[in-house]
Amino acid sequence: MKPPQFEYDDPSSIEETLTLLTQYGEDAKILAGGQSLVPLLNFRLARPDRLIDINNVRELDYLRVEDGMLRIGALTRHSALERSSELGERVPLLRDAVRLVGHVQIRNRGTVGGSVAHADPAAELPVALTALSARFHARSSRGSRLLRADELFVTHLTTALEPDELLTEIEVPLPAPGTRHGFVEFSRRHGDFALGGAAVLLESGPDGSCRHAAIALLAAASTPLRASGAEQFLVGQRFNERVAAEAAERAVGDINPTGDIHGSSNYRRGLVKAMVRRALVQADSGAKEAA
């Protein structure tokens, strides 16, 4: 379990990185936190000719709020998210999600951009960011573009990023004040990728009925998935257990999760349904606490 040979660059700026990507993009992999890539290298399941290590690109490591937007540099570590009090206050869904990522050693090293670019549908951050309607900045020597989650995540471990493109920033619109959230997942073992989960945001109107709902499903498909049917169903509803159950039923209406030794597709479908219901209940009970 020793990695195969590769060439190695460690640029210190975005520009330098983009130049390298233009030159070597097809044969290179970006190395960020390495928490998913290095195991694949050690198993020799990934064998890029070249690694472009962006850990010295300090300009990618930031977390700030401006213009109603949370901006996260792609190299920001999970632990920085976890520790940010501003994040906890303004986007608590993301804080709750990041706390469930792996273990402390992984969060100290893993990056937000790495998690997004790895595009594992069972990972917490892509699902939370999907629920938050985040947008993703990609840059190359050719220019830059902004992608929505449904544009970025193509399938299991695959994004729409071109070989010469670098994910530089994730922008998260700040949820409206009073928005409640829930993030729930189930794994067989502490810290593992979950078998199913859900991220939920609920915004209520003055009469207490739902004005806006966002539901994103974890490990329900080959990408993070918004449950738009269930979201539409919730709008205008007053929350109760029956409504939550109905929304959950709708959320998994046409999903077909991939089964494996830890659970069949059918099992996972039921699990995601339960997670949606619980995330909705969690969001609702959070509102009651605040009230």
């Binding site: 379990m1 990695p3 067989r188 073992r189 593992d192 030794i261 099992y267 699990l271």
Partner: protein, 764 residues
């Protein structure tokens, strides 16, 4: 009065180097000019090996050799059995490197030796091997079908036997109730945190072949290695370093245990091999996979009349060193703590295209206890009797001890030495809070409680060696034929020596695992190291004490019976100023002086201890679980193990054994399974998919150690402590889940999906 050190929880001698990073494990060894080996393994579960071309690999810079089966000497065609051997199994033994056919994914095909492990792995990718795939069989019941692919020349049922007493058929015919089930235990494994590792070199000054990284049974493995290399045993030195856990799997003689020393001899360079985790999962012994068709016959009052079982043990592609140990243990101990008038068990050792299997903590018994205790609960449900009450009615009574069970292992009758099972049952239930937990169970849905009773065995292979010495500094050195896999052997043997001699615990050092300083030994398996190893130390220390007192008696001119040994000197009783230190006695015992006065020179006593028979500790696991009916998750609310082991030499260490053992047993019931796909690839081949429990899953385990039934089969009165924590965990968890769901689980592990399936379909 001197305070005894046996029975006290002294802190371990082993700890400080381990805590500071100073300890040395096999992978830490670095020798001048050392090369690194990597094993090329078969990617197929069953295939003909058509050709192998090492040429391109040998061209890579840094590569020194590629070994294949053609390079091996004739003596090394097959690795022999060391236990429960049977002649008809010899056609199923594993060669160190595969010849014409590979029989499991992961089987060694060639060995690459290079300057670094990185380069060795690069080169292995360049070895060209042509395979022609053969059909695969993975389940033991399917392997016995007429049209199943055959692995070896002989049938897929490599061996088997029957154990029987009483009139089973009549008992079943006359029974009030017969309960019959197919019960299965999934394949899981020991998986110590340190993978295996070996460094072999030929000492250029002495010509001695030295192998670092021995474990569990260094002397036994030296014997096997000598035979395969056709080399005198005394020209081979095996050295045990720190060992990162064993649990039955590490330390057996594997292909690499031959290949690495062989290669060092051939290349005349030190050769290192450190197993990586991916290989460990496919190469090191698996265990536990059994399928039972089992039935119990009961009288109307719940009396057990007869037990009848036919089971298959899936031993994987080859018979390894353990021969028939695992099915042998299952069949011998399946009857458990109960009285039976008749018993019949047909055991089969079946080969399939999976990694070969061997022992894992409580081998054969984890499976047997699950099968028997699960069946008893099913019977209780049918009889509408409380499962605990049903057990109570059938326990062997204290007055029946010693109790000949009517079974046997490896030719020895199984005779329980001592025990008060009824007392242990009541103590265990009280400690668990059975009545309280019943109320807890009744107060919400999806909660359940369950028990598993077990009788363990300890002290298999009945002898051990020890040498106890006083040094020139007046300290005590103990040399043991036992071995340590991390369980605290040095501490326990030092306690026995200190207590027996009368010296300070801190002044005792314990050595083990080096065949150069220890002439013979058996090792550490089957919960034997403390009981048999300790008994040998006790015997040696007793003799040494007598000699020290006699020597001091001559010197002080006081009768030996008026002397005592306290700390570092022999003193006159009642007049401690009259004394002679142990270091002075050492000088008196030097040969020049001792021979002159016609006494034995040196302060060293060798002792062998031979036990008349195994001992049989016993205990109870109690579990309370709560099930999440939506996810299938099983949360353990309370877990208690009550364990009678006669005498606990170090209670803290015993508790550590029980808690750690229970974590493994519970994980085997809920988490761990070596799942294969249809083509025979191990799917759970990494730590991402093979679910060792973390601190988040391992339950808090409350331990009650009792000493109500010491054994008379060794002078310490101690029975083994290593395996009871694991033995009935699968049984207790399964019975608690059954109670929670009002359904009957028939297979371990009980995964979340199986929980939901049971909840949906299995309601009784």
């Amino acid at each position: 009065m001197r305070k005894g050190v046996i029975g006290t929880s002294l802190p371990r001698k082993e700890d400080v180097p381990l805590l500071t990073g100073a300890a040395r494990f096999a992978g830490d060894v670095q020798r001048p000019g050392m090369l690194h080996a990597h094993i090329l393994r078969s990617p197929f579960a069953h295939a003909r090996l058509l050709s192998l071309n090492a040429g391109p690999a040998l061209e890579l810079p840094g590569v020194h050799a590629v070994l294949t089966q053609e390079d091996l000497p004739p003596a090394a065609r097959a690795i022999p059995m060391r236990m429960f051997a049977q002649q008809d199994l010899e056609g199923y033994l594993q060669p160190p490197l595969a010849g014409g056919v590979v029989r499991y994914s992961g089987e060694p095909v060639a060995m690459v030796v290079a300057d670094s492990r990185y380069e060795a792995e690069d080169a292995a990718e360049l070895v060209e091997v042509d395979y022609s795939e053969l059909p695969v069989v993975l389940r033991p019941d399917e392997a016995l079908e007429e049209e199943a692919p055959r692995l070896h020349t002989g049938p897929n049922r490599a061996g088997g036997f029957r154990i029987e007493f009483g009139d089973v058929d009549r008992a079943f015919a006359e029974a009030h109730l017969v309960v019959e089930e197919r019960l299965e235990v999934g394949r899981h494994a020991a998986v110590p945190l340190e993978t295996r590792g070996l460094v072999a070199e030929v000492d250029e000054l002495t010509g001695m072949l030295v192998v670092y990284g021995a474990a569990k049974i260094p002397h036994v493995n030296r014997r096997i290695l000598a035979r395969l290399l056709d080399r005198p045993e005394e020209r081979i030195r095996l050295v045990e370093l720190n060992v990162g856990g064993g649990f039955g799997a590490r330390g057996e003689f594997y292909p690499e245990d031959f290949l690495i020393p062989f290669c060092a001899l051939r290349l005349r360079r030190p050769v290192a091999w450190v197993e990586d985790r991916e290989e460990h999962m496919r190469a090191c012994n698996h265990s536990r996979e059994q399928v039972h068709d089992v039935a119990i016959a009961l009288a109307k009052d719940g009396r057990f009349l007869a037990l009848r079982d036919r089971f298959l043990n899936n031993t994987g592609a080859y018979i390894r060193t353990h021969g028939l140990v695992v099915p042998g243990m299952t069949a011998a101990l399946l009857p458990g703590p109960y009285r039976w008038s008749a018993y019949r068990c047909d055991a089969s050792q079946v080969v399939t295209n999976k990694t070969p299997a061997g022992t894992y903590r409580a081998p054969g018994r984890y499976e047997a206890n699950f099968v028997r205790e699960r069946l008893i609960d099913v019977a209780a449900h049918r009889l509408r009797l409380d499962p605990v009450e049903l057990r109570r009615r059938n326990l062997i009574a204290r007055d029946d001890m010693p109790y000949p069970t009517g079974t046997h292992t490896d030719g020895h009758p199984v005779v329980y030495d001592s025990g008060d099972y009824a007392l242990l049952l009541e103590k265990g239930l009280a400690r668990f809070g059975w009545e309280e937990m019943r109320r807890w169970r009744d107060s919400a849905p999806h909660r359940g409680i369950g028990v598993g009773f077990f009788v363990e065995k300890s002290g298999i292979a009945r002898w051990e060696y020890a040498r106890v010495e006083v040094t020139n500094r007046g300290e005590t050195h103990v040399y043991s034929g036992g071995a340590s896999l991390g369980q605290g052997l040095e501490t326990v043997l030092a306690q026995v020596a200190a207590d027996t001699l009368g010296v300070r615990y801190d002044d005792v050092s314990v050595f083990h695992g080096d065949t150069a300083t220890i002439p013979d030994g058996m090792g550490a398996f089957g919960s034997r190291a403390a009981t048999l190893g300790g008994s040998a130390v006790l015997r040696g220390a007793t003799r040494l004490r007598e000699r020290l007192l006699e020597l001091a008696a001559d010197e002080l001119e006081i009768a030996p019976e008026d002397l005592d040994l306290v700390d570092d000197a022999v003193i006159a009783r009642g007049a401690p100023a009259t004394r002679v230190s142990l270091s002075a006695l050492f000088e008196l015992a030097r040969p020049a002086r001792a021979l002159g006065s016609n006494t034995q020179p040196g302060l060293s006593e060798e002792a062998y201890f031979l036990s008349e028979d195994m001992t049989f500790p016993y205990g109870l696991h109690c579990a309370a679980v709560e099930i999440d009916a939506e996810t299938g998750g099983v949360a353990i609310e309370r877990y208690t193990v009550a364990y009678d082991l006669g005498r606990a030499i170090n209670p803290q260490l015993v508790e550590g054994q029980v808690v750690g053992g229970a974590a493994q047993g519970v994980a085997g019931a809920l988490l761990e399974e070596l799942a294969y796909d249809e083509g025979g690839q191990l799917v759970a081949g990494s730590f991402m998919d093979y679910l060792l429990p973390t601190a988040g899953e391992a339950p808090f385990v409350d331990v009650l150690i009792t000493e109500d039934a010491p054994t008379s089969r060794n002078p310490l009165g101690a029975k083994g402590a290593g395996e009871g924590g694991t033995a009935a965990a699968g049984a207790a968890i399964a019975n608690a889940v059954a109670d929670a769901l009002a359904a009957e689980p028939t297979r371990l592990p009980i995964t979340p999906e199986r929980v939901l399936t049971l909840a949906r379909e299995g309601a009784r």
